[in-house]
């Protein structure tokens, strides 16, 4: 995955970063449950989810967090460093079936500055479900490499 490295000088406030489209299925939710240790049945047991007022299995908030992390780390590349990421889980992705549905992560640059010699960029990020609703707004702070240095 030798992608082109993004440098701090090239970044502009207001710029959108490349969208990340994922496609979670019930298999992916089961994999995430196992890998993360979150075995809440609302994420893989349809009957249980419905009995708990949900339309069916829904994506783990922390998997959405993971997708939003990927959105940012894909953009900053190996030369960039993720410093901080914060998200609020306000809506849901689902009902998730074996066929799955699209899960879209987007981000936009809100700020760039130098602090203690490091080149920072701040981003507004969010996830959208298959209906196009913003489920998970958040922010991220990264340090990017600098050409001048």
């Amino acid at each position: 995955m030798a992608k082109k490295q993004v440098y701090w000088e090239e970044v502009e406030v207001g710029q959108e970063i490349p969208t990340l489209v994922k496609h979670p299925t019930t298999i992916q939710l089961a994999k995430w449950a196992g890998a993360s240790g979150d075995y809440n049945p609302i994420h893989y047991d349809k009957d249980f989810a419905i009995a708990n007022n949900l339309p069916g299995p829904i994506v783990h908030g922390r998997l959405t967090f993971a997708f939003l992390s990927q959105l940012v780390t894909d953009w900053i590349g190996e030369g960039g460093t993720l410093k901080k990421i914060g998200v609020s889980f306000r809506g849901m992705h689902g009902p998730i079936t074996h066929a799955g549905e699209d899960h879209v992560s987007k981000g936009k640059v809100t700020k760039k500055y130098i602090k203690e010699g490091e080149h920072y960029v701040e981003l507004e990020i969010h996830a959208e479900n298959a209906k196009g609703e913003v489920t998970t707004p958040g922010t991220a702070e990264v340090v990017l490499p600098c050409r001048a240095k």
Binding site: K31, A35, E78, F89
Partner: protein
């Protein structure tokens, strides 16, 4: 309903440390569960040539420890009969200081900093704010997190 005293008494208290050894396989499986192909999380040969000198954990890997420490914290809570014991994840903010590597031993300690009560359509909800510190075997703070977790 007021917040029961025994729950209110949790504010400011720290959990016992939860100590977890990090296995490379667990790190790789998590990256695979995210379906994130970034070789930095899983390809040792590639990662050796980077400034990290080896694979590092996906940013979401910290959630493994968060799950363990949260369980420990909530074990101590005797929810009153009106509670169903349902948990909802409200959100998180994580700050990263040092990458997690295979073989690290992470000590997680969480503290409840706030508990709020809210009447929702599902009844009385308690909203917990937690601050967790994750420290590695070198005594370096790997990450800190502020999490919101809801119980009703």
């Amino acid at each position: 309903m007021a917040i029961p005293d025994e729950i209110k008494a949790m504010i400011g208290k720290e959990t016992e440390p939860v100590v977890t050894a990090v296995e490379k396989g667990a790190m790789v499986l998590l990256a695979m569960a995210v379906d994130d192909p970034n070789p930095l999380w899983q390809d040792e040969k590639y990662a050796r040539g980077t400034r990290y000198g080896g694979i590092v954990a996906h940013p979401a890997f910290i959630n493994v420890f968060r799950g363990l420490v949260l369980r420990k914290l909530m074990e101590g809570i005797k929810l009153t009969p009106s509670f169903k014991g349902v948990g909802i994840d409200g959100g998180t903010e994580i700050e990263y200081y040092h990458p997690i590597r295979p073989g690290d031993v992470i000590t997680s300690v969480a503290k409840v900093t706030d508990i709020k009560e809210k009447q929702g359509k599902l009844g009385t909800m308690l909203i917990f704010t937690l601050e967790t510190t994750y420290t590695n075997q070198l005594g370096q703070v790997t990450a800190t997190a502020t999490d919101t977790t809801i119980r009703y």
